[in-house]
């Protein structure tokens, strides 16, 4: 299902990340969404979330490979090996230069991050799919329509 297929077409790009790419990705995710004790959430570099991301490249595999390659180029080599301050500088440059590929890569990270139980619970969501339980929507008060009714017909006879 989802953004992944057993046999994705070659035009989507290589669905697998190399070990080096995984290291770069995890380091980038740690800069993007770090863990927080205050909100009781893991970071996007959490191993479970990283494993989810690694199998969810789907239609955007090429964009992810290219983004990670660009980040390493900006870093002048191995982004993951840089000290935190240097990583933050490189990420700022990536955000300025990453374009659509970064947008697509970010979306994959967010997709996996915000479906993690721990994160959903912290946001006040129930960790479940929308169906079958659904949600409750407050009912309205249609007496609010009284002034609209009072103003009368506004359609044009034709």
């Amino acid at each position: 299902m989802s953004n992944t297929l057993a046999n994705p077409p070659p035009s989507w790009g290589d669905p697998n990340l190399t070990d080096a790419e995984k290291r770069t990705l995890a380091a980038m995710c740690a800069r993007m969404i770090p863990a927080s004790d205050e909100f009781k959430v893991p970071g996007a570099d959490d191993p479970l979330i990283q494993a989810d991301i690694a199998k969810s490249l789907g239609r955007d595999a090429t964009a992810v490979h290219d983004t990670l390659a660009l980040l390493n180029r900006i870093a002048g080599g191995d982004f993951a090996a840089l000290p935190v301050a240097k990583q933050e500088e490189a990420c700022a440059t990536l955000r300025a230069e990453g374009g659509m590929n970064l947008t697509l890569t970010t979306r994959i990270v967010l997709q996996c991050y915000y479906r993690d139980d721990r994160v959903m619970i912290s946001l006040g969501m129930e960790p479940r799919p929308p169906f079958p339980k659904g949600h409750v929507l407050p009912q309205g008060d249609w007496s609010l329509l009284d002034p609209v009714r009072a103003r009368g017909k506004i359609w044009r006879d034709a």
Binding site: S36, G58, T103, R115, G134, H135, V148, W155
Partner: protein
């Protein structure tokens, strides 16, 4: 070759399904060819934890992104509005938001009233009984006696406005604006075996609850019970004609990729405002070198797409977020022409709720409202479930240069030439869009939004595909007559959104289906003189 059928319908979406059901009582042999398959409710994204991810992949609204086997590519690089479709049993209704306004009486008379474009050859009153019948068949929820329309009622009570709808309603009361609960093709109570809406908030990529009225669960079961045959995974390549200039049937590729000729006495096009002209333009012959039924040169022209700017607003307190149908209210305050505004015709404001966490975080990171780093979490909690939006549905009048043609190189998986869209926004529409953006922003502020943003084009591609085989009484200025029959080919009919003469400023499906039912009734009344 298979046995001839009486009526061959191409496309099983909003119009094809309604038409098939209505014609079934003639007991004629009716076959519908649909390039897609049945979609199973268990396959809809709302069943899984990856529901939001799938909205951007296999459940995306854009066929170019989705790339299902049933999808055909569309070259829409030359259009600010991208082409959203769904190709399966039910067509676009599987993925629509089910906002269900009718066109207004004035929409059918724009030349007489406002001196622009052309009048329709039919009126609101012509369609009125078919609107009612369609509301009953689809199962529409709404509140009677909206002062922006001639009086009419709905089969079910309206969908709840929720927090965001209530907030907008109060603000519009302060501004003295018209608003009304939206009519929606969504069951708000049990209806004809359908379960009521439980606010999954996931109407676009299919309703797992079956509350949203897509034609695979409304018209099709009834039509099939009445004897209509629906053949899925059958992609039509061309409509064929005989030496007498009459349509003889269609050539299609079946699910095994084999080429099949289906002879028919009547061919009915219901492949939507892009698919129908594409097929006609692909059906060339010595008699019709520029495409079938195209002596007017208007097949594919006058494309209307409803440019749809969106104003987003964020509030300090909690809104509905993704919990609930996308739509809640409409306002017709700026619908009818008032030339002091600097443009002719008008627009509807369509009020909607908010996105899920991925949509919110993505928008936040892109705009800079949410930082990378430790500040992300607090920022996310300031914006998540605190958003609501207003869409501005603009009546883009027909212009011949807005059109679909066949792309010289792009083809679908069967090698059939794909459509290319050429579409620009006129100065009138641009002025309308800016007016709508200013008013929607004013309303957002009045409703208490602390932050607002505007998207002029990218956020919402409404999937409204209209005007490309328009109806009319003059064969030089229209493709089909006032009851859907081609001026050139007397046993060829068009019943989908292609026949719109103008687009109105509302979502079109209620009107598309009313027209399909009306054409079916016209055909039934003329069965013995249909080709005269």
């Amino acid at each position: 070759m298979t046995d001839p059928v009486d009526i061959l319908i191409i496309g099983s979406g909003a119009s094809g399904a309604a038409f098939a059901w209505s014609m079934a009582d003639t007991r004629m042999r009716i076959v519908c060819l649909e390039q897609g398959d049945w979609v199973k409710p268990t396959d809809y994204p709302a069943n899984g934890r990856d529901w939001e991810a799938r909205r951007y992949s296999d459940a995306d609204i854009l066929p170019n992104r989705r790339q299902h086997p049933a999808d055909y590519p569309v070259n829409d690089t030359n259009s600010i509005t991208k082409i959203a479709t769904y190709n399966a049993v039910g067509g676009g209704t599987v993925h629509y938001a089910a906002h269900f306004p009718r066109l207004h009486p004035s929409d059918f008379r724009v030349r007489s009233l406002d001196g622009v474009a052309e009048d329709w050859p039919i009126t609101y009153r012509t369609l009125e009984p078919f609107f009612t019948e369609n509301d009953r068949m689809m199962g529409v929820a709404g509140l009677a006696n909206d002062p922006s329309y001639p009086d009419h009622a709905y089969p079910m009570p309206p969908i709840p406005p929720g927090r965001s709808g209530t907030r907008f309603a109060q603000a519009m009361n302060r501004l003295g604006w018209h608003w009304w609960p939206s009519a929606a093709a969504i069951a708000t109570r049990e209806y004809e075996g359908r379960a009521p809406c439980i606010n999954l908030g996931h109407c676009l990529p299919g309703c797992a609850q079956g509350a949203k009225a897509s034609t695979d669960i409304t018209y099709w079961p009834a039509a099939i019970r009445a004897g209509v045959e629906l053949r899925t995974n059958c992609r039509v390549r061309e409509i064929t004609i005989g030496p007498d200039g009459m349509a003889t049937g269609a050539i299609y590729y079946n699910r095994d990729g084999q080429e099949v000729f289906q002879p028919a006495h009547v061919v009915v096009m219901a492949a939507n405002g892009i698919g129908t002209p594409r097929l006609l333009l692909n059906s060339v012959s010595a008699k019709f070198p520029n495409g079938l039924a195209n002596s007017s040169g208007l097949v594919g022209r006058n494309l209307m797409l409803h440019p749809w700017p969106v104003v987003q607003g964020w509030f300090n307190d909690e809104m509905d977020g993704q919990r609930g149908p996308i739509v809640s209210l409409w306002s017709k305050q700026f619908y009818e022409t008032d030339t002091s505004r600097g443009f002719t015709r008008g627009y509807m404001l369509q009020f909607g709720r908010g996105p899920g966490p991925v949509g919110e975080a993505q928008a936040g990171l892109e705009s800079g409202r949410m930082p990378w780093g430790p500040g992300h979490h607090a920022a996310m909690r300031r914006y998540f479930h605190r958003r609501a939006h207003i869409g501005i549905a603009c009546d883009d009048l027909p212009e011949e240069h807005n059109r679909i043609i066949l792309d010289p190189t792009l083809k679908d998986s069967h090698g059939i030439p794909a459509p290319r869209i050429d579409y620009t926004v006129s100065p009138n529409t641009a002025a309308m869009m800016e007016h709508g953006i200013a008013r929607a922003t004013e309303l957002m502020r009045e409703a208490g939004a602390h932050t607002t943003t505007v998207s002029r084009e990218v956020l919402n591609y409404p999937g409204h595909l209209l005007g490309t085989c328009r109806m009319g009484t003059n064969p030089e200025r229209s493709v089909v007559n006032e009851w859907g029959r081609s001026h050139d080919v007397r046993n060829l009919f068009v019943i989908d959104g292609s026949v719109f003469v103008t687009g109105g400023g509302v979502n079109p499906t209620s009107t598309i289906q009313a027209i399909a039912l009306y054409i079916a009734q016209q055909m039934k009344q003329r069965l013995h003189t249909l080709f005269d």
